[in-house]
Symmetry: C2
């Protein structure tokens, strides 16, 4: 079989300081910032390679990730299967930085990043993917804060809570978070049976 090799690039996001950030590595020789990536070995699938890349950075429990899109313009070098990942807030791994999503990238990585950001926004509208930005257990206020960053607008607290709880995507756990001079907050985890919920009914034809 002739043709080009296959690589995997990962756009890993986190939310910190009220802003969406993406995990980048700096390669000054190659024109600045780029997404972490790797060639796909002969004995692994692209999904295996993505998990390997994430485990190398975040340890054996790789964060949530899914395949995004495959890029392969001729002249690009390898064909790249892009993944995007959602990572709870934390320090950037060795040699990498969490950067605002507006930074210009090397190669065509800006295009990959733009696609990943768009997918993230789309899924925010109709799934519980954003819960993956939080370390468990988390409070409802933390969930709301994540959604407010992603949607770029404030949300009504009562409506938000009613709707989020109605999804049955959360399971309350024992204990409360005390964090200052105010009432402690209930704690939640992802509901084990619905770790990643898409709204079933569509918009066009709910009748």
């Amino acid at each position: 079989m002739k043709g080009r090799g296959v690589a995997v690039d990962v756009a890993a996001f986190t939310i910190d300081g009220g802003a969406l950030r993406v995990l980048l590595e700096e390669r000054p020789a190659q024109g600045g910032w780029q997404l972490p990536g790797s060639a796909v070995a002969a004995a692994e699938s692209p999904g295996d390679a993505a998990r390997r890349i994430l485990e190398a950075r975040f340890g054996p429990r790789a964060p949530y990730h899914e395949q995004l899109y495959t890029f392969g313009e001729p002249g690009r070098g390898p064909i790249s299967v892009a993944y995007f990942a959602v990572v709870p807030r934390g320090r950037a791994p060795q040699g990498l930085s969490w950067k605002p999503v507006q930074v210009p990238l090397a190669f065509d990585h800006g295009e990959i990043l733009a696609e990943a950001v768009e997918r993230l926004h789309t899924k925010t509208e109709y799934s519980t993917l954003p819960l993956r930005f939080l370390e468990e257990p988390f409070t409802l206020s933390e969930v709301q804060a994540v959604y407010e960053v992603l949607l770029e607008r404030p949300l009504d607290k009562r409506n938000f809570r009613r709707k989020m709880l109605a999804l049955e995507a959360l399971r309350q756990v024992q204990g409360r978070r005390r964090s200052g001079a105010h009432r402690p907050a209930r704690l939640f985890r992802l509901s084990p049976d619905r770790p990643y919920l898409l709204k079933e009914r569509g918009i066009l034809f709910p009748f």
Copy 2:
């Protein structure tokens, strides 16, 4: 760059006889029916290869298609970038057949097909992708029939028309279709500015 080659496989759908059908080729030597595909040449992108495959079957105006998912389990052979396509009703090209989507396929093509069918159903809920099943110009009754096959339930004619027209995805064109002993039907095309409409607002957070 080491690793495996890259191929493209296409799941092309049409609606005929009130049922969803997929374009398959029979290779008795390799265990029955399979999706049309091809290796990706060194000088082309996967998208180029998909278009090439479709043009070889349907002529220089390739039907609507989009990238679906990239499959690459080790031991699979080449890594395959799968596309799905939506084709207006018509005769199957030389050497190929329109088959019901339940037929068992060779290799892992059944998995690819299942993914494509799912994507098609998802997009039916919140986009005007199903309009691509129709040759232009078409009538509103034809549009409704397509949606009824995809959604597998009858739809109310008045509600359907109101909603479809409200999307402003259609443009009425001159002329009427006369097809028997009844009132002739108005004709429509895809609105040129919105050839492929996704509903903007989501379900979870429209407030």
